[in-house]
Amino acid sequence: MPTELWTLAIATVTSVTCALCGSLLLVARKSMVSEGLSHAVLPGLVLAFVLVRDYNSPWLILSAAASGMVMVWLTQLVQRSGLVDDDAGLGIVFAGMFSVGILLVTANLRNTHFHADCIVDGNLALAPLDRLEIGGTDWGPRSWVVMCVMLFVVTTFVVVAFKELRAGIFDPTLARRFGLRPALLQFVWLGIVSTTTVAAFNVAGSILIVALMIAPPAAACLLTDRLDRLMVVASLVAVAGSIGGFQVAVLIDVSPTGPIASFAGLLFLLVFAFAPRRGLVAKWWERVQHRAEIGELLVLEMVSTGGREAVDTIVAPPAERVRTIARLMAGGHLHESNGELQVTPAGEERLAAALR
């Protein structure tokens, strides 16, 4: 398979995995935790590297994931103190941990893989070149294998524990009474999200991870109102974002990381504008229709109680009043005889029905 296709495959698997994790964060109202995790895993990553001096050691993933969980725990401690807002607590902790990570990098690892560009952008373009070989067999690019494993873990977890996850996030009190251990479950799924963040870190970097975890679920949220469908739709948006972003990257010949993040954001904006029922356009159209409907009812009311003069008391531009009357006459709710407006029986019926 050509290198570009591998890049696309890695990007797609990564974004779907991130979208699934992000969906849980979104419905638990913890979206910003992804931002925190993507930064807070750094000190764990660097510390493990300083100790083992091997980029490919699984200790790096474990230590970094643990570092993410430390952030979650510290954040809860700060939040529980009640001295700062919840968001601020998260911000303090992850920024602090990230700066420790940067400090470790600049002090110890000046001329290595760990430099600012890699941390922010990841290394998607080069990811296909780092192959995983076990016992002489080439299993494909390392990131591909790692992300496929993560996708499998996340999907299995979400499918198997769907009932427990949904109950635990939506109504922890009930879940606790039913013995569904919501606190333990949250610890497990945040652990999985943390591990995903680490695994994706090499591919996506800290910024793209956040984009991938937030944009597709946020778009999906506007398109459906069931958690299971939300996850499926978020995954589809993630796939579309990867393919679209990748095409753009090829077209303008740049590293695909930025375009994929931008494309995910663009998809969100499109959904935000055009989603049926909840999009901006749908909301605007709904308002227009409601205004027309209530205007028509009010004209009927005024005509039936005070004739044409009473219509002039309606607070609306004259042109709009004229249009409303025209619509009502065309619809058979008003008719004109001897220059006087009259409400037809159909119009009376409509007015009565609206106030029933």
């Binding site: 419905v27 769907f162 009932k163 939506f170 039913f178 569904l180 469908r229």
Partner: protein, 244 residues
Amino acid sequence: MEVAIETRQLTVAYGAQPALWNVDVRIPLLKMTGIVGPNGAGKSTLLKAILGTVPRLSGEVVLHRDAGRNGTAVGYVPQRNAVDWDFPITVFDLVTMGTYGRLRWFQRPGKREREEAREALAQVRMEEFADRQIGELSGGQQQRVFLARALVQQASIYLMDEPFASVDAKTENMLIDVLHRLRDEGNTIVLVHHDLTTVADYFDHVVLLNRKLVASGATATTFTPENVEHAYGVAGQHLVQRHP
């Protein structure tokens, strides 16, 4: 009198603010009990203490032996502001959640559970809203849906926190009918209630609370102007008999 819920020396505080102070109360089995008192009297806190969701500073809560052992025996309807109404879940899925206590870990609700959820929705006359997202409902409809969840749970003790707040009179009557029927079928109902004018009609038993227990007993003998005055600190006659 058989006791469904008993608290002994129950104390709960928020910071230095006592919410419930050394409360000994016995809530009778198979009756409809109203918890009444002024704002800040600890009514909701008493429900939370029974559910075990607030830390106790002293004392204990004892449930009836049939209810004490399993987690599904107590059904509760959460206060409206404790629910994330934007959560992507439909009315039907929310009601089905009531069956989760009977299912094993990782077991999905099956045909029987879905059937039960449908029946419970019919009982509160919400069948036609089954596919709505919960945020699209009115206040009264939301109360009915959560009540349906407690029904599906096959609870024997129902706890509700001001179910009639911002609910229209028609819905209030409907809910009261459902609750009275539940009581007559052998369940215990406990409501936090704040409309004093309906207390005498709705409840068999009244708990008057103002952080400390003011009075507890059968409505006829306990819900007296003297006790109400004691709990509210204003002329009780006026509050109780506004609409005779």
